[in-house]
Structures are given as C-alpha cells and as structure tokens.
C-alpha cells in the first residue's frame, strides 16, 4: 500500500491503514524515537501512540509527506516522554546532550510577553536551513531533528567527528544570529 492509499484509508476510517502505516513506517518512527529514548519499551509505546495520534489527526490533516508527518509525531511524543523521564532522573541520552548543546545559545528565560509561537520559530529555522549548503543542513537536521549521535552523523556523511562537532558549533552560533536578526529573542 503506498502513502496515498494509506492516507485515503485513514480518511475512510479503514483500520488496515494503521497496520499498513505501522508496517511501512513503524521502524522509522522507532528509529526517531530510539535516538531520544533509551528504553525499548518506551520506544514501542511511542510508536503505538504515534499511530493512534495519526489516526486521530487524519482527517482533517492531509500530510504531503506521510513519513515526515509520522516522524514528527513520534519525535514529539518521544520528547514528551524524555522530558518526563529526565524529570524522574531516568536519563535521556542524546536528548539531554542536544538540550545541553542548545542551551549555549538560549537565554533560558520564559519572557511570556515576548514569547514567540513555536511555529514562527520553526519557519525562521526553515529559512536558516534553506540558506545552508546540503551537507551542513543534513548535519544540523540529523543532530537536532533525528537527534543522531555525532559519531553516527560523521559515519553517515563520511566526515570526521571533529569536523561534525566544529560544524555544529558554528551552526548553533549562526542559528542564534539568524534568529536574533529575525527578531526572535532567544
């Protein structure tokens, strides 16, 4: 079953569309969640919750890319779970490390009156990513979207770990400058 058929199945409330989505993208969602969560049962739970959330949100949503849509749901669910685990001192692996890295460029303040909508920040990040060359963009997305370990990014893209670290350090600085320029207080 291809993506369009799966989405149509969701629209027509056919339950076998969930099985098809799970067969096709269950492992992908597991991989996304697995980078954030260290506990396998949490990952499984996250994947099941992801399918349920997709079932509840399609319709009305009609994703252009089912894979990315499911990946995003899985990621957000995993982040929620990791945040809860972190609060309970159960550790968060790459999630904690990524947060530590990003804390270098954020103030940490809440400032509710100036708080930006998350979607506006995302669009600003889109523009930032759109200006980067392919390799830098992949490195950034692999690190802060997929939360891949640095060693894995280096191996995947044929780079040295030290190069990836340096690239990420510069990208964080550039992102901070870009967001400031767009009027987003970080």
């Amino acid at each position: 079953m291809d993506d369009l058929q799966i989405i149509e199945g969701f629209f027509n409330r056919q339950e076998d569309a969930i099985s098809a989505a799970l067969d096709k993208y269950g492992r992908y969602c597991g991989a996304v969640a697995g980078n954030i969560l260290s506990n396998y049962s949490d990952v499984e739970e996250c994947v099941n919750d992801c399918m349920l959330k997709a079932w509840n949100s399609i319709p009305p949503a009609r994703p252009a890319s089912l894979k990315a849509y499911l990946g995003k749901i899985a990621r957000n669910l995993a982040l929620d779970k990791a945040a809860a685990s972190s609060a309970q001192k159960r550790g968060g692996g790459e999630y904690t490390l990524a947060l530590d890295e990003l804390s270098e460029i954020v103030s940490g303040g809440t400032e509710p009156e100036k708080a930006m909508e998350s979607s506006e920040i995302s669009r600003a990040i889109d523009r930032f990513l759109g200006d980067l060359d392919g390799t830098k963009r992949k490195v950034f997305v692999r690190r802060y979207w997929y939360l891949d370990p640095v060693s894995e990014i280096a191996a995947r893209l044929g780079l040295k770990e030290s190069n990836v670290k340096t690239m990420l350090f510069r990208l964080r600085k550039e992102l901070a400058q870009h967001l400031e320029k767009e009027g987003i207080k970080i």
């Binding site: 994703p63 849509y69 990946g71 947060l99 998350s118 995302s122 997305v141 979207w145 995947r156 987003i184």
Partner: protein
Amino acid sequence: MTNEKLLRAVGDIDDRFVEEADGNYSSVPGAAYAANTKTSTERLRSRRRPLKIAAAACAAVLIFTVGFFGGAGTLGNRSYDSKNGSEVNTGVPSNSTSDLGPEGLDGRSYDGESEWVPSSAEKSYNGAPVGEGSDTIFTETSGLRNSKLIYSATMSLQSTEFEKTCGFIKELAGKYFAYIESETVDNGNGSATYRRSASYTVRVPAENYEKFLAGMNDGCYVVSLNQKMTDVSEQYFDIEQKLETLRNKHDRLEELLKSADNMTDILKIEDALSENEYEINQYQGSLNKYNSLVSYSTVKISLKEVSRPDTTIGEKPGFFQKLGNNFSEGLANVGSALENLALWISYNIVTLIILAAIIIAVVKIHPVRRIKAAKEKKNG
C-alpha cells in the same frame, strides 16, 4: 526561550529537510535503529576516502609495472651512433628492456624460428627519417591492430627557426586530430649557450600515430626518436572479464536483497553490495585509463633552437665528407666562440675597465719601480 522549546521548534521544520537528511530507515528493520541506517551509497562514500588513496597507488603501480616490465623484448634494435659513424642492427629481438627474462609478462618467447609476437616493443632511431623507405615502424605489429596496444614515442628535434617549428608542431597536431597535453617553453637568454627550447606532450589518435611521426620530418630536424609499444591486451581483457563477473554478482546481490526478510541478512548483503560497487568502480577506472592510453598515443617532443642543425646525425658519411663536416663544424665553433667572447665582454665591460685602471695604477706607483727610478736618477 528555553532549549526545549528550540528543540521542539526544530521538530516542526519543513518536511523536505527531514526527508533530505533521512537515510533508509524504512528499509532497515529491527531495533538497532540509527546504528544500522547508513545507505550503501553513504557507507561507500565514507569508505572511499582511504580506499581512493589505495586505488590511486594501485593504479600507479599497475601502470608502472605495465610500462616498465611489460616488455617481452624489443623488435630488432636499430641504432645509429653518429659519433662513431657506425650503424648497428641486431636483427633479433632483444630483451634488454625487460627484467622478466625472455618470456616477459605473458610468457611468449622468441625461439628464432616460430613467429614471435611481442607484448612490448621498443625502437630507437637517431636521426633516421621516420616512416621512409621499407623500414616502416612496427610493421611486425600490424597483425595486432585488434589488440590493445599502447604506442608512445619520445622525439628530440633541432630547429633554426624556433617559433616556426613550434607553430608547425601545433599545426601538425591539429591536422591529425591530436591535442597538446602539456607545453613548456624556455625563452633562454639569447646567448649562443642558452638558446630557446620547448617540450610538448602530444596525445595523438592511435590511427594517426605513424602519420604524425612521419609528418614531423617535413618541418623539423629529427635528432632522435624512441618508440615504445606495449601490449596490454591480457590485462585489459582480464579486467573486462572481472567487471562482467562483478556486474553479474551485483545483479544477484540486488535480487537477494529484495527477497531478504531479516535485518542480519540485509546488512550482510548491503555490505557485500558496497564492496562489489567499490570493486566495479575501481576496475572501471583502470579500464577507462587503458582505453585512453590505447586510443590516444603519447608523443613527447623536445625541441631545441640551434644556430645550425647537427648535420652528421642520421648520415653515413665517408672519410672526406667527415673531414669536411669536421672542418665546417670547427669553423662554426670558432664563430660561436668569438660571438660568446664578444657577448661576455659587453656584459662585463664596466668590471673590466675598473680592473684595468687598478692594474695600471698599481704598476705605475709600485714602490719597487719608484726605488728603481730614484736609483737611476741618482746614478745618472
């Protein structure tokens, strides 16, 4: 803003960026997740860096080996020693250029009776007109035109009209659809001892190779010509065979990958595919290199500007002719020496005047002379 909010905002970026950065997660089953998600292309890329160096080294060694040891011998070496005025024609194949003994690389040998087919041949001419008469270059190899043969030659030229000859070489290259791979021109300093010179590496289509060499006689004075022919058929067809086998293996592996249903098998097959693709690329590179060398012969030309070409080269003079040649050469050398002297003086004239002044002053005011003059005055 908190770091968590920023991380969540990153989560909502455009789907295209997510897709772009994605590997083959959907095709890799199991719970190993990210650790096993590299695509075969990416794995190949990450491996290629060190392997590229090794491949380049292997190619260099291979080409060196083929070039240096590839000969089963030379065709009858014909050389002319202009100094002694004698001509030597060994008439039999010589293995002097091969360190592998009479069999050479391909095991074929010359027994003096049976037909001898060289895998590598060299021929040297000093001053002999190229392609003239019945002594056609590499006639022995005419039956091997379907084989993979690499022709190369080194030529030394002399010219009294340097620029005209440079133009002629380029014109000839254009006429035979050759191209000049490299060109170096040294403008000298105008003196008789340091004249202009140039060197060219010309890549000539193999079918025009002999015509190009013969054409050089029309506009240049060919001082020496060394030709080499290397038969790489065996290596070439061997590589072709290996490539075919590897491609068949690649097809089989792809079929296996489609039907594989557990992660361990998929990973093993992907590893094997990466290795296979790397080997295919490596052999294809070698094949391309051979194709280039076979289809375009390499002619290295070194051109020197001279006041008069060395007329003794390439001739078989008698005694009186040699006497005449030596006399005219001697006269030319005297002229050249005088020209050099005049140039040297003009270059060092100021130094010479200062030196002369110092010598005159020293001689005139030397104390011994003054004492002698005083004594003569006293006595006189």
